[in-house]
Symmetry: C2
Subunit: 206 residues, 2 copies
DNA sequence: GTCTATAGAATGATAGAC
DNA sequence: GTCTATCATTCTATAGAC
């Protein structure tokens, strides 16, 4: 749109600063918890006064919003990576991979998990744009799960509960370990072996 | 120890006030979230100035601590109630009852669930006395679970993850409904039917 | 775009009169 | 045991100079 090279350069510089602020915000919440994000300290961290941050984000919640969107983009990208053609033949493996991938995503960054999958920030609501990114991520995950043979709502609900439960216990009670993570395969196999998971097995065989 | 009837009466009065403050605190966090407990508002609620609360609790965290202990006492009492002799004969039912009872305890009061089973209050650590109550509650629950046939650590870990996962999804995504709660039976049966749950079945039959 | 200055409001907690 | 007065912070956010 803009034929002005200076405009492009300025815009690029601005994008860099925006990204730098968000990166510093991730650092901060990793250290002080999700609620421990303070404009003053965030300003210190990127080398400006807290008030100057308002040139980039209209409010603190806009920063959470940017983190929220970035988090779901990362989630989509992370789950994309399980689309490995080598495992398409085996009916059990894709589900296991999917499950491990999900639990890993959660345990790698507990604060991100909290921001994306739990609701613990008092006044924060994601913007429509960010929420759209989240919805798309969920839809992708649902489709991939369907490819693994888990289709009906009750089964996918149980799947979700099991995996978030495992991730949550892992994060809360054995951070850095694998006491719950190593139960992922067993949980997945349990669900795949359940007759209720495949209510139409007979017709599927035809 | 004190033979002074006035002392007893004063002590009783004090206990009443302590209980009243904690009850008001539960009300407050139910309305404004776990972090939304403010000494000023709490004072208003019990009809005294915020500063006067410090005659009863040395700090805000001491109030959280009292709630924590009360919560685990409630948990023990709640799980005791499943000790129904009528169901001891059926090997499947005690586990189902136990599971339902647990999930109900969580969903009935989400804020209490958050205080007891998640770690979301920044500076709060339970006191040794409160923690002892929590440990005893866990030990009781573990024994009851063992009576239901779930004994090895991996299985009880999976049990915990499944049920907290179901409770969490229920609270977060369908408050007041039963979309996840109605999956409890299926989850329990899945675990009971799993061969890995009874690694020593042969010798048990002897 | 960044700064200083500052508003405006909330917080948890203490000291000391009564 | 409750009060008034107050401290000492923290916080988000705005106004306006440069």
């Amino acid at each position: 749109m803009s034929g002005n090279p200076n405009g492009d350069r300025r815009s690029a510089r601005r994008q860099e600063t925006l990204a730098e602020i968000v990166a510093a915000a991730w650092e901060m919440v990793a250290e002080h918890g999700l609620a421990g994000l303070s404009m003053r300290d965030l300003g210190d961290r990127v080398g400006m006064r807290a008030q100057s941050l308002y040139s980039y984000f209209a409010s603190k919640n806009k920063i959470y919003d940017a983190m929220f969107m970035e988090g779901y983009q990362a989630f989509s990208a992370w789950m994309e990576a399980t689309d490995d053609p080598r495992f398409r033949a085996d009916p059990a493996r894709p589900a296991r991979l999917l499950a491990h991938r999900f639990v890993e995503f959660c345990t790698i960054d507990p604060v991100r998990y909290q921001l994306l999958f739990q609701r613990t920030i008092p006044g924060f609501e994601p913007s429509p744009e960010s929420y759209a990114v989240a919805l798309k991520a969920y839809e992708n995950a649902r489709e991939r799960l369907a490819d693994s043979g888990l289709r009906d709502q009750e089964t996918t609900d149980l799947w979700t509960a099991m995996l978030t439960g495992l991730a949550d216990q892992q994060i809360s009670n054995d951070p850095g370990g694998d006491r719950w993570e190593r139960l992922v395969d067993r949980a997945v196999d349990l669900l795949l072996a359940d007759p209720q998971t495949h209510p139409h097995t007979e017709s599927d065989k035809a």
